[in-house]
Symmetry: D2
Subunit: 142 residues, 4 copies
């Protein structure tokens, strides 16, 4: 199992949270929540976080694209208990920004993720609009 920075395992550091219910179809042959199902839960929390931040929609011209997802699997997760996903932004670059995510079950960390999102015009990276940058800065990891 991965050994993440203990500071990443404190839910209170993440300003955003989302609770999800697990599903029977998330289970793998070992009776654990499948790693890919955890990736879907991280993705879902990401989308809800982006909505909370007030990100412009992709259809508005500018488009953000997920460039990288890194997941550390720390412990098995089970069914039927739910999962809580904490999310916070990291200080960003010129045309990209990253967020950190912590997944817990019954207050026990089961995985962390770091995701890098790039702003583009559909083809090439574009500088992030200062107003959006300001909104993101309101959701930084503490």
């Amino acid at each position: 199992m991965a050994r993440p920075d203990p500071a990443l395992l404190d839910p209170a550091r993440y300003p955003f949270g989302n609770s999800v219910t697990t599903r029977f179809a998330d289970l793998d042959p070992n009776g654990h929540i499948n790693n890919v199902a955890m990736a879907a839960v991280f993705e879902d929390a990401r989308l809800r976080f982006i909505t909370a931040v007030g990100m412009p929609k992709n259809a508005d011209g500018a488009r953000f694209m997920v460039a990288n997802v890194t997941i550390d699997y720390l412990a098995q997760a089970y069914y039927p208990a739910g999962l809580e996903c904490r999310v916070g932004a990291l200080p960003g670059g010129r045309s990209s920004w990253s967020l950190r995510q912590l997944l817990l079950q019954d207050n026990r960390p089961v995985a962390t993720a770091q995701v890098t999102i790039v702003f583009t015009d559909g083809e090439r990276p574009q500088p992030i609009d200062p107003a959006l940058r300001e909104r993101l800065d309101a959701w930084l990891i503490r």
Copy 2:
């Protein structure tokens, strides 16, 4: 869209309920919750219902197998609102029993399902144990 029996659309008739969160990955290219994702939500509620009923586990020798799933899709469901799945048993046969399910979003019916489950010894249908039948009868649709 299907036109189900209006009596099936009354949530109060179903003795069991389960709330699930939708996920971004449930969405199809039309921006609706995919039909297959709805099938996963029905399946999940079914498993939780079976646990509530106190069904013996498959590992205990007797095994139940889903023989038929029939889903009527009534209306589109959306993200990110959650879904509520109502479940109740129907009076059963000798070696099988059926359950009815109603899926709602924001109190609006979006799908119904009927599922037939057969008890087997792994190979052939077996009569349902009277004690289990009695437990099932406590969860009949009203």
Copy 3:
């Protein structure tokens, strides 16, 4: 397990076929391909069939909507072998049509499905265009 009409189990009766690869994520805790994963394979074959028929796209104004899906589960399917899904149309109604599907693994029937699709203007059922009806009739189950 369901006992379908034996005539439905003959792959040669279905004019269309699609081979899919199974995935580890399709497995359930019993080590079988999950019922919902089979529903996804049926859905996928349906979309490919619709493309082969030359169905107008939903975006073209007329829209088709899946109103009912009925699946009979006949036998367990396993990983990592692939699945073959056979598809054929049934003689249709005025504003709807149905198709039949047969899912096989290693030439062994594992499930059948019947699906009813309704043509609408987005809200109400609409008569099916005669040219489309003619194309569908070229793909009837034999």
Copy 4:
């Protein structure tokens, strides 16, 4: 989009390959293969690679656990074309080993992944058996 090491984009460097069919349910609201569906395809190829290597089963006592998955998303993938996933091992550590994966569609790289797998006794990391290490070394990235 991520800019990976160009050397990682050459399929010929990866000794193992697996072709998968895409499914309609893989599509996201933008009409692209969803990032999580790509993660499922990487996972599936990983399992098939592990079988080809001749990895002992988890049930045999020793257990391997995925500790980290890192995916670089390079380009959109589409439906209904299939995907090809290339896989190769990296020279490993004492109790863990890593593999590299390249996902292509129509010979176009769409994503890369690096995965670290840890051998454990169910709880703690264990040294990898020399015979298994030898088998892994036969599947190194060229």
